[in-house]
Symmetry: C2
Amino acid sequence: MPGTLDDVARAAGVSRMTVSNAYNRPEKLAPATLERVLQAARELGYGGPSAVGRSLRRGRTGVLGLLLNDALPYAFTDPGAVAFMRGLAVEAAARDLSLQLIAATGPAAARAVADAVVDAFVALAPADDDPALATVLARRLPLVTAGAPALPDVPCVTIDNVAAARRAAEHLLALGHTRLAVVTWRLLPDGHAGPAGLDRQHGSAFGVRRDRLAGYRQAVERAGLAWEDVRVEERPGNSREDGYAAGDAVLDALGARGPLGVLASTDVLALGVLQAARERGARVPEDVSVVGLDDVPEAAASTPALTTVHQDLFAQGRECARRAAGALPGPVHRHPSRLVVRASTAPPGGG
Amino acid sequence: MPGTLDDVARAAGVSRMTVSNAYNRPEKLAPATLERVLQAARELGYGGPSAVGRSLRRGRTGVLGLLLNDALPYAFTDPGAVAFMRGLAVEAAARDLSLQLIAATGPAAARAVADAVVDAFVALAPADDDPALATVLARRLPLVTAGAPALPDVPCVTIDNVAAARRAAEHLLALGHTRLAVVTWRLLPDGHAGPAGLDRQHGSAFGVRRDRLAGYRQAVERAGLAWEDVRVEERPGNSREDGYAAGDAVLDALGARGPLGVLASTDVLALGVLQAARERGARVPEDVSVVGLDDVPEAAASTPALTTVHQDLFAQGRECARRAAGALPGPVHRHPSRLVVRASTAPPGGG
DNA sequence: ATGAAAGCGCTAACAC
DNA sequence: GTGTTAGCGCTTTCAT
């Protein structure tokens, strides 16, 4: 411990305030005094005013907090999350803020959120009932959510996930697909991997995923098909591996009986499905058509290139940071999304 | 502002300590008291103990700080940095730490570093003379650097960049290349784009890049060639675009006169060079051989797949976090690196 | 140009 | 179980 302002003050024979000023407003000090103070600090090994003391006194921290709905490393695995954080980073940098990543899930989350020394929070795709949000609100800190409106009266930046998913499904239906399967990421936090019934679909607290399922369902039912006939394959994570496993399961169950259309609720899962299809020798898009959602950079570069619904997560990150840092209220802002047809979809059988 | 412990204490007719305990050790309170306190808090809209007050009192923050040597958004652009941060995140999560990203460059950097409320710092590829490091040391906080030993007695996790670069160059030389060019990222912070002379090469404060140039040079001279004949093309950033522009410049100057070997000091730059070559119709590897350094995930997926020198930035991130969080001293730890031959290199002319 | 007073909000240690 | 004491390290305001 390098000591305190008082220690330096004593050693330099000045008041604590003078030492404080030496660091904060050196030009206000007589050059001789300044030098004496700095000299004393050097001799004591004093490292400058404590950051926490300063924050306490000033009432601000210069930090923007990002609440992650997953383990910390996941944020760096998901290209969508990376794009979003890059957007946050741009606006944080413009305001000289640092960016703090906080796991808002797991046993230590409550403490981490309660103890986070930040000026404002952005929550990325929180669950509806995420207790971290209540904590943030109780702390009276600005909060913006991204992905889905979790709480009334909390500003939210997102797309219309229902419409985006509907658009994906409509694309497959318009191509003539009637045999469909859905691949989705964790609906309930119980690690389930396998088909998800209506109970899970409706019971999910994850707004984004629930909305996407709802969108798929709308399109399916409007086309006169039965939602119950659509297998909804759930995996606990959003990784290529999860997508691969889900694709395998779906193709095991349905692939042999003719062309299949797969609705993957994220591009990352879709990329895994593509790989599963490829490795078992199914032709994409002739035997298996796959449509993703998000349009992450990898989607355009995959083989075949992934048909998907585009959203701009970078722009959403920027807006979240701007609104959180400015404590700008305002309602849900839905960014646009649009279908991007590439090579992973075609009429059933390639016809 | 939601008020303080004292406000709640007054309202509940108890002492401040009791309110504190209601939040920190509820089991130690008589249920009736607890309820009365919580009720008072609710009525006052008290949001729980202040995070800053707590940090001040406790003397710890639960945060690991990452010092970035660039603007904040860059960290999310560079796949190497992302892998490194993922490693940090794994170990941070294991210790219930949050991860704070701090721009240690630019006008506001000094304040940001001095005011960062963290328990320890990791600095990613800092410049030798980075003033942020001195600040950290003055604050007596644990510090680990990654990428290059910047300061004596500061633990450092890295690879032997000289050896790694030498290996890349030796590969090209062994294939028979005698016409070589180097593409490197910012050597001096002046935005220069173009050929870099020996002055810039030696004057660079960026250890990683200087070491890599030194490694290339060693191999070249050991092969009996003159380093002066090797064009060193510098770009201010480490992006595909920078690599593209550098590749273009190099090919403009040297490409027409026969097969060329390009030493790109990062994979990201190499990927840009590959694209530049492709777009001007040069055949890779026949007309232009390209070798990168880092082995980011994209390197294996490019067309043609990139020959490069592998290092495990994820593992280095983990070790940095472990050592910073544990305040583990110890000297420079050099992780291994190894040449990975893929399809972007061949003997000159493809022979 | 320098200093004194007055907290910012909290908790460890120890009484009661 | 609950309260008292004694700070954690700093800066704003106002005086001198």
